[in-house]
Symmetry: C2
Subunit: 146 residues, 2 copies
């Protein structure tokens, strides 16, 4: 397909996509219940699951947040036993964060109220629409990861 310089075919795409993302994010956060972890926590758990144990700085870089922000996320996850920390083998300043069995279980289950809300909305779509969202999700990940 054609590319890089002229997005003229989709005018205002940035504006529209930005608002869509802000609003869906708001809806997703509003589904938060006390029994479930937050979206921020879930995102970190997911990264640990996909990439394996890593240091706080590496996790912050993967999630594209600043180290102090990640310190707090890790602390909250440690507190509820979803991640654990061990010493770095050679560098006393660093530590290694890893998913606990409970953290892995939680990711496997993924049966939060938030998940159910989105699953229900997705089930109301056509297969073609879900396919578009699946492809959009990949494209967004690529953009956001840059």
């Amino acid at each position: 397909m054609n590319s890089a310089e002229a997005p003229a075919a989709e005018p205002d795409l940035a504006s529209r996509l930005r608002l869509s993302v802000v609003r869906l994010n708001r809806r997703l956060r509003s589904q938060h219940t006390d029994e479930s972890v937050s979206l921020t926590q879930l995102s970190a758990l997911n990264t640990l699951s996909g990439c394996g144990p890593m240091t706080p700085s590496e996790l912050a870089a993967s999630e594209r947040v600043r180290p102090p922000s990640m310190t707090r996320v890790i602390a909250s996850l440690e507190e509820v036993g979803l991640v654990s920390r061990r010493q770095h083998p050679t560098d006393g300043r660093q530590s290694i964060i890893e998913l606990t069995p409970a953290g892995a279980d939680l990711l496997n289950a993924e049966a939060s109220a938030r998940e159910r809300w989105l699953d229900k909305r997705l089930a109301e779509l056509t297969a073609a629409e879900r396919h578009i969202l699946a492809r959009a999700s990949e494209i967004i990940d690529r953009m956001a990861g840059t």
Copy 2:
């Protein structure tokens, strides 16, 4: 109970889409500069622009936030002159919020740093990819509006 009617062709779509949205939202917010309005403010301005003047409660309902949250958003927009408030013609409890010329100008310009970041990312995609995002944006709006 079982998600037998659920999207078998796109397993884990809810999980993946949710994470994509959270992460893109994070990137978008991080583009915030002091010269630009926030995503929350912009979303409210956009709704006022599209739907016309309305009461704080109506605006809260449109944005799907609680009235006290919208009180704060409106106050911040009033303070910088992007919206104005006038009396409700018949009900003394209510007021009408409307876009000022400055607010309309800002929406027309939309030349914030945040916008530029996303525009740049979008320009790196193919036309087909942008088309997918445009369609996904519509689908998301439909879901988030429910």
